[in-house]
């Protein structure tokens, strides 16, 4: 039974000047899950995170974290929340270990050198603990940001575009770190532009655009609901019409009958099975084909489709 850890209802934020960044957002996050929030630039992802973390003052709605109202119990709640913002933001002249200790203290946790060492070692920062942050590479600086966010052992961690602008190797390294955090029971909400990241990491995915949540569901359920397979058979002799055995499948003819196009499936493998059946049927009917191209839709295709055809769903 999923245990809600974050419950957002009717959240609104209108900035000075009238820009509506959040427009009635409803969202529930369960303990222990990794939730990916996808959306284009300006969709409201960072404003949503900022509203929960205290960086942004919402203009409407209610946020409950760990069952407590954020508006009244913000001090208790924030002790258990960690945030890794998009930008590399810290005192560049300070030492790594001092900045991590500072973060732990600021969130009200007692000094614990063993825990600080554990965090730094887990992020391969222990050897750099006495280095000034400005001397580190971009990737290492991003790790320092994560170390600072983890220093007080948060139960709920927000990662705002954690791998934006980092190379592939570091991105995969970050994913490993996130996996380790999941194993420790930390609930993670990450925003990302990289669909691959959501496919790789998330248990559930939410799509936000223009301040509204368009879709929230299990990653696999989204694929099953909206995923599809596309196949193109190149027919040797043009067909005037679809052969009768094929009419039960989602197929049609293109390019003067020389191309048989299949669009179907549900992201669970059904599409691949039907394409194989079609190939057998064509052979059985004596229809020669010289080529077959298949393509599975990705979360990215679904994401793009959603942005063009908004779907209204509840969280």
């Amino acid at each position: 039974m999923p245990e809600p850890i974050l419950n957002i209802r009717g959240l609104e934020k209108t900035y000075k000047g009238g820009v509506k960044a959040l427009d009635g957002v409803d969202l529930t996050i369960n303990r222990g899950e990794i939730f990916a929030l996808l959306g284009p630039n300006g969709a409201g992802k960072t404003t949503l995170i900022g509203s929960v973390c205290g960086l942004v003052r919402p203009t409407g709605g209610k946020i409950e974290v760990f069952g407590q109202d954020l508006a009244t119990s913000w001090k208790n709640v924030r002790r258990q929340i960690g945030l890794v913002p998009q930008e590399l933001s810290f005192d560049m002249f300070d030492k790594v270990i001092r900045q991590v200790r500072y973060s732990r203290g600021m969130f009200g946790s007692a000094p614990d050198e063993a825990r600080i060492e554990e965090v730094l070692r887990s992020l391969s920062l222990w050897d750099k603990r006495n280095a000034a942050i400005r001397e580190l590479s971009g990737g290492m600086k991003r790790r320092v940001m994560i170390a600072k966010a983890l220093a007080h052992d948060p139960q709920l961690l927000f990662l705002d575009e954690p791998t934006a602008g980092v190379d592939v190797e570091l991105r995969r390294d970050m994913w490993r770190q996130i996996d380790m955090l999941r194993d420790r029971g930390v609930t993670i909400i990450l925003t990302t532009h990289y669909i691959e990241e959501a496919e790789e990491m998330a248990d559930r995915v939410g799509v936000i655009a223009k301040g509204r949540i368009l879709l929230v569901d299990d990653k696999d359920a989204i694929m099953a609901k909206l995923g599809r397979t596309e196949a193109h058979f190149t027919i040797d002799s043009p067909l005037a019409e679809l052969p009768a055995p094929l009419t039960g499948y989602p197929v049609h003819l293109e390019e003067g009958g020389t191309s048989l196009v299949y669009r179907g499936g549900d992201g669970t493998g059904k599409g691949k099975r039907e394409v194989a059946e079609l190939a057998q049927l064509l052979t059985r009917e004596g229809i020669a084909f010289s080529g077959l191209e298949t393509q599975e839709s990705t979360l990215e295709d679904i994401f793009v489709d959603l942005l063009h055809e908004p779907v209204e769903t509840a969280a």
Binding site: Y15, K16, G54, S73, K75, P85, S89, M92, M106
Partner: protein, 254 residues
Amino acid sequence: MTFNARGTYAIFKNELMRMFRTIFGSILSPVITTSLYLVVFGAAMGDRMDLGGVNYGAFIVPGLLMLTLLSESTSNASFGIYMPKFTGAIYELLSAPVGVAETLIGFVGAAAVKSLILAAIILGTAALIVDYSIAHPILALGYIVLVAASFSLLGFIIGLWADGFEKLQIIPLLVLMPLTFLGGTFYPISALEGPWQYVAMVNPVVYLVSGLRWTFLGESDFPIMLSFGATLGFLLICIAVIGWIFKTGWRLRE
């Protein structure tokens, strides 16, 4: 909601360590500048000044101390809160379980403590250059603490208000410095010609210098309670302004 003592200490320690990382600019520079004033105006020219029996070097010590206290308290506190804003590191403060009290005690407390350390060094250095004594040491300490806290609060407000390095310097350099120089640092207000005495009374720093001078010399241009009351009032106004800033999120959560 419980007070986050660890968070307060973390901010306080971090700020103090930051200041000591830049020890030349934070400590040595103001000490050297003040010492030069004392050497030039106190030791070298002091004998030529007639202040009715009061040694001129001893006369300017509280004024110079006030000059340093005002500028250093203001600039330390303003820089302390402006830098996280500038680098973006303010996100951590805003997302942490710290409120107005923790933030003020952490940032303003550190700036004020640094000013007090600086004041102690300046007084020690001054003792090597000019002959002075403190008539009311306990009151002097209390007054220095009050001034350091008040102007650290002002600095904190400036740091929140500033959206560029230039603005950080405007009030310390273009307002506080001239007012302090014209506020009786180097001369008694009674030495001014008739109408200029009334003009000087509009300058709020006059009352600060006068108050500190009273604790050192036992006499000054204005009653000590007037100076003390004005300083305390200023401190309360600063706290009220900062409370409003945190309540509305002005320049913090916009």
